[in-house]
């Protein structure tokens, strides 16, 4: 249950067609990359918590092989297209008139050093990870202002990465785009906080998704004759928690940041990495 920003009085969630007391009852959410590895878990969770959730993605299956079991409304969205962003928000406006939660989860990763990265690949990385965040946010803001009226906050959640702080080898363009998202997150929080819109970024470490599997098998990540299982175990062992994360772990944090409990959380970069980046380097001692 939320509380009014100014009076601290409890704010009763709007009634939904469910008897479950969800954290997101009555809210409208849109998740870009909503049919991808992390996106599906976010859509599922926000929906279970009572929100109406639009899954926006390039295709109905997103980056995964199979269809989603989730019945969330789907919006075909190429985040690099301003026209597509406008059309997506037009639909949300027509159907609900507001947007309480925007999650910019669409992203791509090019596994190369800068010498091996073509200009086209560089531009594509920035187009999806940075420009996509910009375009979707820009056109969502009027709907988020509408949601933020009446003392409640709207929540915009970007996807940074622990790679925006420290570098993995052979991921140059990706690291640079995530650093840009971190700075953009702070800038947006400054600009739109006065309008009741909170802006945060989640910075995942290693999360079990197709992107991670690609990192294990891709050209840029070495391998040294080891099997994928051996590599994966080695990666788990470097984490203080001795595992990498799941999309559900990310969805848990999205759910909190999107909720009224997080009404004072804004402008921050939330690292969720099983302790990976808290250590200097895990030496094999």
């Amino acid at each position: 249950m939320g509380r009014d920003l100014h009076t601290n009085a409890p704010v009763l969630p709007a009634k939904q067609g469910t008897n479950r007391m969800g954290l997101q009852n009555g809210k409208v959410a849109l998740v870009t990359g909503g049919r991808g590895g992390i996106g599906r878990a976010i859509v599922d969770r926000l929906q279970r918590e009572g929100a109406i959730v639009y899954a926006a993605d390039l295709s109905e299956d997103g980056s995964l092989a199979g269809p989603s079991a989730n019945d969330s409304p789907f919006i075909r969205l190429d985040v690099t297209s301003e026209q597509a962003a406008i059309a997506a928000m037009d639909r949300v406006r027509a159907e609900h008139g507001k947007l309480d939660i925007l999650v910019n989860a669409a992203g791509i990763e090019i596994e190369k050093t800068i010498e091996n990265t073509s200009l086209e690949e560089w531009n594509r990385s920035f187009a999806v990870n940075v420009t996509g965040t910009f375009l979707t946010s820009k056109h969502a803001l009027p709907l988020m202002r509408a949601a933020a009226s009446g003392g409640r906050t709207a929540s915009l959640i970007n996807f940074g990465s622990y790679d925006g702080f420290i570098a993995d080898p052979g991921l140059a363009a990706y690291c640079a785009t995530k650093g840009a998202v971190h700075a953009l997150t702070r800038a947006m929080a400054c600009d739109h906080g006065p309008e009741g819109i909170r802006v945060n970024a989640i910075c995942p470490g290693y999360i079990d998704t197709p992107m991670l599997q690609s990192f294990f098998t891709g050209d840029g990540s070495g391998g040294g004759g080891k099997t994928i299982d051996q590599l994966q175990q080695a990666v788990r062992d470097v984490h203080p928690m001795r595992t990498y994360g799941t999309p559900e772990d990310i969805a848990n944090l999205v759910n909190w940041l999107a909720s009224d409990e997080a009404r004072y959380a804004s402008g921050q970069l939330w690292v969720l990495d099983g302790g990976l980046s808290a250590q200097v380097q895990q030496m094999r001692l």
């Binding site: 420290i166 080898p169 290693y206 590599l231 030496m283 001692l285």
Partner: protein
């Protein structure tokens, strides 16, 4: 090489390692250098020596009074104990916090009034004050204290005094070797650690001294309240360097 000519510097912990390198670099740059440490003056040290335990506030105050006006204070003296929180004893606390926290505090409190306008304090922090080395709990925490104190002094005592911290990474000193000696396979541990440094070598005391010279000099006149990491790129890299698996 006269970037520090005409300046008087006091460097704590100048017997060996990083402190000794700072003393020697400051002398090369033309500074008058005074240093200190527990015990007697080491052989062949070409500058004034005070026998001093920085964790003793009265002793620090006495030395500060006897030295007179200064331009540069380098808080380098420090100790490390390789233990987790649960394994650390009260004596470990007194040792690590006494030298690394109280010692830096004692020296800053005693020497700030003796620093001339334009003076520079250089504290030796650590990358371990930013991110954790395993089984170094009190050391890690003590260096985070140094980082916080550095910012406070910069804020409280500017514009008269600048205060910055250097965060060394793994520097070839007795402390580093002690760390490797704890490994089950010291040779493999050394190789593994090297592979995690983009420059493919450990730091040398002179690498840290070079930064100390710059921060102490007038070239750094606009630098204050900051942490300067000198670690061969180690903390810029993810702990998950696949090249070392």
């Amino acid at each position: 090489m006269t970037r520090l000519s005409g300046k008087r510097a006091f460097v704590t912990g100048g017997r060996q390692g990083i402190g000794r390198a700072i003393v020697e670099a400051f002398l090369v740059e033309g500074a008058e250098v005074i240093t200190c440490g527990r015990g007697g003056k080491p052989d062949a040290l070409p500058c004034t020596w005070h026998s001093l335990d920085v964790s003793d506030p009265d002793a620090v105050a006495t030395v500060a009074q006897s030295i007179g006006p200064l331009d540069i204070l380098v808080n380098n003296a420090g100790v490390q104990v390789e233990k987790t929180v649960v394994d650390s004893t009260d004596l470990d606390w007194d040792l690590v916090i006494g030298a690394n926290c109280r010692g830096v505090f004692n020296c800053c409190r005693a020497f700030i009034p003796t620093l001339r306008s334009g003076g520079s304090i250089v504290n030796i922090g650590s990358i371990s004050g930013q991110v954790a080395d395993p089984s170094m709990a009190l050391y890690n925490a003590s260096k985070a204290f140094v980082h916080g104190l550095t910012r406070s002094i910069a804020v409280d005592h500017g514009p008269k005094i600048r205060c910055n911290a250097i965060c060394p990474g793994w520097i070839n000193t007795g402390m580093l070797e002690a760390g490797f000696d704890l490994a089950s396979d010291p040779v493999a541990a050394r190789q593994d650690a090297l592979a995690r440094h983009p420059v493919r070598r450990f730091g040398e005391p002179r690498d840290v001294a070079a930064m100390a010279v710059w921060l102490a000099s007038d070239e750094a006149a606009f630098a204050t309240g900051q942490l300067f990491t000198v670690d061969g790129g180690m903390t810029a890299a993810s702990p998950l360097n696949p090249g070392v698996f």
